[in-house]
Symmetry: C2
Subunit: 690 residues, 2 copies
């Protein structure tokens, strides 16, 4: 779920980034925490688990960990560049590599030779090489503290300069990450892999066994795993740091670690920020997601080929809808907010009693005020969620931003971001006209619904035609579905872009002024939020002590926990499942959609060791983006692969608990057993961990 | 679809009834029109089709026509009480008669003897016996023309008195119908049948072949038909007026008539009223429907039994969602409104030039103003769509309204309405706890989302608990799911109801004050709308001439048209299909959900005359509520059974066209052929029309 969730969280966040601030050690619960690799909780691990990670242990784990730009995590698992991730993280690539005659998502894939490994059209993997603290340099650059428009510009300019210098010096992808809501800035340097090839994927029936019904549920029996391979210079890359593969299944009570890229948490959020989520933002997003879910369902009813074309997007939407539904239900429990309100009142009271902290108290009102302004912005977005229009808009903005000095550009258009951006904009991934028409018509209809027919922008977009007519015209006549046409336009620069009469580009030009205006408001809100949360962080640190971990930022983190069952409806849920359970589960749900195991499994049933562990749960603190993260034991050997959280974990965006909330993993032993017994690839099974 | 559509249109209309005003002959298009049986378009039919219906022809058709209180139409087709309607109109009953071991919706049913005919738990059929014009009496009662609260009360009081007098005098169900937006009031007297039994229903795979994908599409191949039988004194009723069954399939160009109960049209709506639909009401309703669609889908994923329990409601929701989507898309075409705006400008200009009409022009502003007030009311509803809470609320209101004189009561609680109301409130139809929990929890969550956690009513409902907890407590502890408990409570009167500590009743009491406040606002808006549209009707009549038909009111109407194909995407669509086409369609969509014909069809394929006509389209003017309407020829013999409109007809709520819009029917010959060849019931086939 997490890859899908993350991708859609990103989509639905509009332009306003969320600030990230730490909880602190004094308030962490159980195995809570997503720790920075340069600030591991050594004391805590020693106290609680008598575990003292060596520097080498941590470095190996970090350098074996991989980030997927499609919104997930992974790990190196062989010296020849084999990368392990989830099927549902790889599904973006599987979708793009599929054709009417080759449905890789549904049917899976196995490359018997390197030659058969299929190059992903636009996948980028990142390995974290180095973290540098650049807080002082950025703080020095922000000289204006009163006008958020100016300070945001100064901050953004400093970040752009640091990133571009670093790129030039090291050749490494260089991203400045805002931590603790702006109290800390770290420069993350990544080695980048852009030649990534598909090696093996199971069938959806195995990877997503139980479908939407079982998603976020436990017990589970899913082989949500895929293997890819990174290449350099056209050959499998030689990888120095990769994970060994444990032959031992996990046991109840085992200490385990998760090294991955949690996307976003909101644990520092004030009561008013959570109320905004509960009363405004999440209901709004859910209406949007349900709209798109029905739209894609309807599109897919058109036939088997439509069903194939829309599959990955529908999965992502359903996944996000289910996740947000759980999140909202958690917030709608008055006890959730009551607990937070108690703590907030204490913090404010203590701060008011302390002359040094008292000036910081206004930050809570500022956050409350910002929520109101966010609500007012909610329906103003003109970022049509159409691939064609988004490509056109990106190309237009790129050409325009290129006219400015690097430090003045929108964040996505700086020098440091260029290579990844170009990779994405010229991706050969297919765009299907029928699906594009459906998506664009609905987005234009939504623009009309949100802004009303009288809105001048709506009038300009429609020009007397219906949303369907506009969409049909654009999709039928635009040439931007051809990556070569996009490349030429980008290379042609501003004149080519402004002179283009491609209808998608024309629409992008119509939308641009409003897009920029919204973006400016969003950036300003984000800057003010940063400043306010930084103050709140100061109060928290002063009142409750320092330490802990920053909210998630889709950068590498270490979580830890134990393999542990839980009690649900007065029933003990065992922490592990096995292949035998998978076959029993299929039988128990015979006749229901998505509960048929694939033919390959049915054929292999007699050959398999059915007692092999298949999935397990642990108390590790994970969130969307952690999908595909390796789970390692005390020795740093791979024992599992994160692929889901249970229903009870859906509130972990803003609240970690270990009472029932669990991270769900595929067992390492299951993957090896399946490769041998079901997919009959002894060579791949043997390559794991070597 | 129409039954489902109608049911859900009713559901989603909140408390504000819609006024109904006529288009006029001068502006009708093609075969437009849903005519009153006491004002048939004799001149038009003579001119256009050289057809002069005799009084006997019209009386026979009227007395053979049946209204279903579940939201559809039907007809008597034998002297022994056989009633023909759609499977999707009967599905409400099929659902209520089904159990875990007997899935009548999915598997169909055939009673081989009268003893095997299954009594519907709460179905009421109405046959229109007489129409009396009571306009003068009502107008005389409304003495106050300035205060809409007072005039609404006066009007409602007069209606209640007329209905109750009529009931007493005739023993017939007596409903006053508001026509032409309040320019005319007619008293409709119905014979009522409440012992209705299921005789035959096909499988859903035959009735709804092609599922949601093919819904509203054409060509179609559906056997959307069901036979029921009315009983009196425990025996099949002897029916004097019933339709003969034609053995001849329809042909291209045939004149046909539809006698049924169209639910609601909005053809008199002003531009501002349509804009309110487009910009506010329909997007709001669609968000609601999509929310419920996903909710039911998720519930049904719990297993086969959940899937069975939720089936009919999900069908209704999907059907309404698809219909409203089409309706909104039509309104979002700027040309739709532009055409209407042109006419409106002309009407206003002409009225302004005429001293007698000039005072009426303010009606357009009044309608515009009412739309704004409606928009403000939209999210205020406290009518939780939970069966349990709706039953509790009705019982509470009944007890309270009973304390008032008949003329002062809310319309649903007058003496004339009592018997039907009690029938509904004590229905033995099952309520399933798991489904009730899901529905109620979502409605409470929605109340919270719409009104915010700070709302006093929300605070009172939640009392510190989450929506799920509140719903679980109510559903687990309420006894109102037992019809006997409801009957006792009703018989116990006000003291029993106010003293009840049943949690569903407690919640109803909490909601009641706000419910009444909203209702009062709604009634007032409705009264003002009536007065304004009555003025607009005067202008229309003066400017464009009189005549025509009133907007639909779920009362009996006659429509006419011809069997006629159309052109779509430059392709000729033939007006008729046959059984051969059904088998070909199944083959063409092999592997897609809902495209497998049932086993009974596959087994019978060789015995069937595959060239038998199965479905046909015509230009008759129909809408939701017409589902199940008989289609008759010039001789008044049954040739078909309305079951759907095509996609192009979805705008017919506010705009009839015959360019592509078509009514879709099952052919009479197909039903007889299927009964003989597939369902092997020669006796039933022979009973048709005799």
């Amino acid at each position: 779920m997490h890859g899908g969730l993350l991708r859609h969280v990103t989509l639905s966040l509009s332009v306003i980034a969320v600030s990230m601030i730490p909880s602190t050690t004094t308030t962490t619960l159980g195995d809570e925490g997503m720790y920075l690799f340069n600030d591991l909780p050594r004391e805590l691990l020693k106290q609680k688990y008598d575990f003292q990670p060596s520097d080498q242990w941590a470095d190996e784990l970090r350098l074996s960990s991989v980030r997927f730009n499609s919104g997930g995590s992974g790990s190196f698992v062989s010296s020849s560049g084999l990368v392990l991730t989830n099927h549902h993280v790889a599904s973006d690539t599987l979708q793009k590599l599929s054709t009417e005659d080759r449905n890789l998502i549904k049917d899976g894939y196995l490359a018997r030779t390197h030659e058969e490994e299929l190059k992903a059209p636009d996948l980028e993997l990142n390995v974290l090489i180095e973290i540098v603290d650049v807080t002082d340099r950025i703080n020095a650059a922000v000289t204006n503290k009163t006008n958020p428009d100016v300070s945001a510009k100064q901050r953004q300019g400093a970040i752009a300069s640091i990133e571009s210098e670093s790129l030039e010096q090291t050749g490494l992808r260089s991203d400045v990450v805002t931590l603790f809501g702006g109290a800390r800035y770290h420069l993350y340097r990544y080695k980048k892999y852009t030649d990534v090839r598909l090696v093996w994927a199971p069938e959806t029936a195995a990877a997503f066994f139980g479908g939407d019904a079982d998603n976020f549920e436990y017990p589970r029996y899913n082989l949500d795993a895929t293997l890819m391979r990174v290449y350099e210079d056209g050959k499998p890359a030689t990888i120095e740091h990769f994970l060994r593969w444990s032959d031992t299944p996990v046991s109840d009570g085992d200490l385990i670690f998760v090294s991955g890229h949690p996307g976003r948490t909101q644990r520092i959020f004030t009561v008013e920020a959570l109320e905004y989520l509960r009363d405004t933002r999440l209901p709004f997003v859910l209406d949007y997601l349900r709209r798109k879910e029905i739209l894609f369902q309807q599109y897919q009813l058109e036939g088997n080929e439509a069903s194939r074309r829309g599959r990955d997007e529908l999965f992502g939407i359903q996944n996000a809808r289910k996740a947000y539904t759980g999140m909202l239900a958690g917030l709608q429990d008055p006890q959730t907010i009551a607990t937070r309100r108690g703590r907030q009142h204490r913090l404010i009271a203590e701060a008011n009693n302390n002359p040094q902290l008292r000036p910081l108290v206004s930050a809570w009102q500022e956050i409350a005020q910002i929520q109101k302004e966010k609500a007012a912005q909610l329906t103003k977005s003109v970022s049509l969620r159409s691939d064609l229009i988004q490509l056109a808009m990106s190309i237009l903005l790129l050409a325009k931003e290129d006219q400015k000095p690097n430090e003045d550009r929108l964040a996505e258009y700086t020098d440091a971001s260029r290579e990844s951006l170009l990779n994405r904009l010229t991706s050969p991934a297919p765009l299907y006209d029928d699906l594009q028409r459906v998506k664009l018509a609905d987005e234009i209809a939504l623009l009309l619904e949100r802004r009303g027919m009288g809105d001048p922008l709506v009038q300009e977009v429609l020009a007397g035609r219906s949303p369907r007519e506009v969409a049909a015209e654009i999709v039928d006549q635009s040439k931007l579905d051809d990556p070569e046409v996009r490349r030429e336009l980008i290379e042609g620069g501003l004149n080519a872009v402004l002179g283009s009469d491609d209808p998608a580009m024309r629409l992008a030009r119509v939308l641009e002024p409003e897009f920029r205006a919204n973006r400016a408001v969003g950036d300003q809100l984000s800057e003010r939020e940063k400043q306010a949360y930084a103050k709140i962080t100061q109060v928290v640190s002063a009142v409750e002590g320092t330490g802990g971990y920053p909210d998630a930022t889709f950068s590498l983190r270490l979580a830890f926990g134990t393999v542990k069952g839980y009690v649900e409806n007065a029933k003990e849920i065992s922490p592990t499942t096995d292949f035998d359970g998978a076959f029993a589960h299929a039988e128990a749900h015979a006749g229901q959609d998505d509960f048929d195991l694939p033919e390959s499994w049915m054929n292999a049933k007699d050959k398999l060791d059915l007692s092999t562990q298949l999935n397990f749960v642990s108390t590790a603190d994970i969130i969307g983006g952690n999908s595909g993260s390796p789970v390692v034991n005390r020795e740093g050997d791979l024992v599992g692969l994160i692929f889901d959280g249970n229903i009870q974990s859906l509130t972990s965006d803003y609240l970690y608990t270990d009472q029932q909330a669990r991270a769900v993993s595929v067992s390492g032993v299951a993957i090896r057993e399946a490769l041998r017994g079901i997919y009959e690839t002894e060579s791949l099974a043997n390559e794991l961990g070597r």
